[in-house]
């Protein structure tokens, strides 16, 4: 159990280095030669998963979504203004 927890922590440290700090799989493996065989396929899978999940919403949707948000913001602003007017009366 303890060994498994240690490996989970090593894996997470390598993921941070790989995915956030931009280090390579090889650099991570060099730091943990004893776990390299187990780490390598997992880091490769993680890297591929990260790249594949970096999708962008379609531009048309983003334009539409922004418009809806600004409409909602305007609506809130106008309600607030009306509310303030009412308070002053």
């Amino acid at each position: 159990m303890r060994k498994s927890r240690e490996f989970d922590t090593i894996l997470d440290e390598c993921l941070e280095r790989l995915l956030v700090k931009g280090e390579t799989v090889e650099q991570c493996l060099k730091s943990y030669p004893e776990q390299a065989d187990e780490l390598k396929p997992l880091l490769q899978t993680a890297l591929a998963t990260k790249k594949a999940s970096a999708i962008q919403p379609c531009p048309e949707f983003k334009v539409r979504a922004r418009y809806q948000l600004h409409s909602a913001l305007q609506e809130m602003k106008s309600k607030k203004t009306i509310g303030k007017g009412g308070d002053n009366m």
């Binding site: 989970d8 998963t49 790249k51 999940s53 999708i55 919403p57 922004r66 809806q68 948000l69 809130m76």
Partner: protein, 177 residues
């Protein structure tokens, strides 16, 4: 973090520019998270938009406790995903996203090819709900282990263990397809 805190405070005072900035900074990450959780790009668009409209309505209830604003947004997104999946489970057969149905699934190892989103979505269907959630928050949402732990209400150790088992399961799913 200080900048984000003041941005959130301004947004809570109905500063449109501040809320719009928070929206721009987080929109794509929330979208990616929702896509990975529900496996349907079209429905993920509507759901992502709803996350921000709900956030706008309830931003005054947000209390700054040193946790990034994005963690709060992910909690809203997570609740919506849970509701969506619950409703979906009641329906007999969930139709597969058209883009998923047409994906290529040749028996190659993940390390030897570049993986696309459709292949990844198919593979994530092999994960448990908890594994899929952790992977979605970590890889698509770009949250740290500590932030994921806050969002899902588990210990960091438990999240690390789920992350490990999820990557093993993904590796297996991608290798045998």
């Amino acid at each position: 973090m200080q900048d984000e805190e003041s941005l959130v405070r301004r947004a809570q005072q109905r500063d449109q520019e501040a809320f719009a900035q928070l929206y721009e900074e987080n929109f794509d990450k929330i979208y990616r998270y929702v896509v990975l959780r529900i496996g349907n790009k079209t429905e993920a668009e509507d759901m992502t938009q709803q996350v921000f409209l709900n956030a706008l309505k309830s931003i005054s209830s947000f209390k700054w406790k040193g946790v990034p604003f994005s963690a709060w947004l992910f909690r809203i997104a997570r609740n919506q995903v849970v509701d969506y999946l619950r409703k979906k489970a009641k329906q007999a057969t969930a139709p597969l996203d058209e883009s998923l149905a047409s994906s290529d699934s040749r028996p190659e190892l993940v390390a030897e090819r570049s993986l696309d989103i459709e292949q990844l979505l198919l593979a994530t269907k092999q994960l448990t709900t908890a594994q899929r959630e952790v992977i979605s928050l970590r890889f698509a949402g770009e949250l740290s282990i500590a932030q994921v732990a806050k969002v899902v209400g588990k210990s960091q150790g438990a999240v690390k263990a789920l992350q490990h088992s999820a990557i093993v399961a993904l590796r297996k799913a991608l290798s045998v397809e």
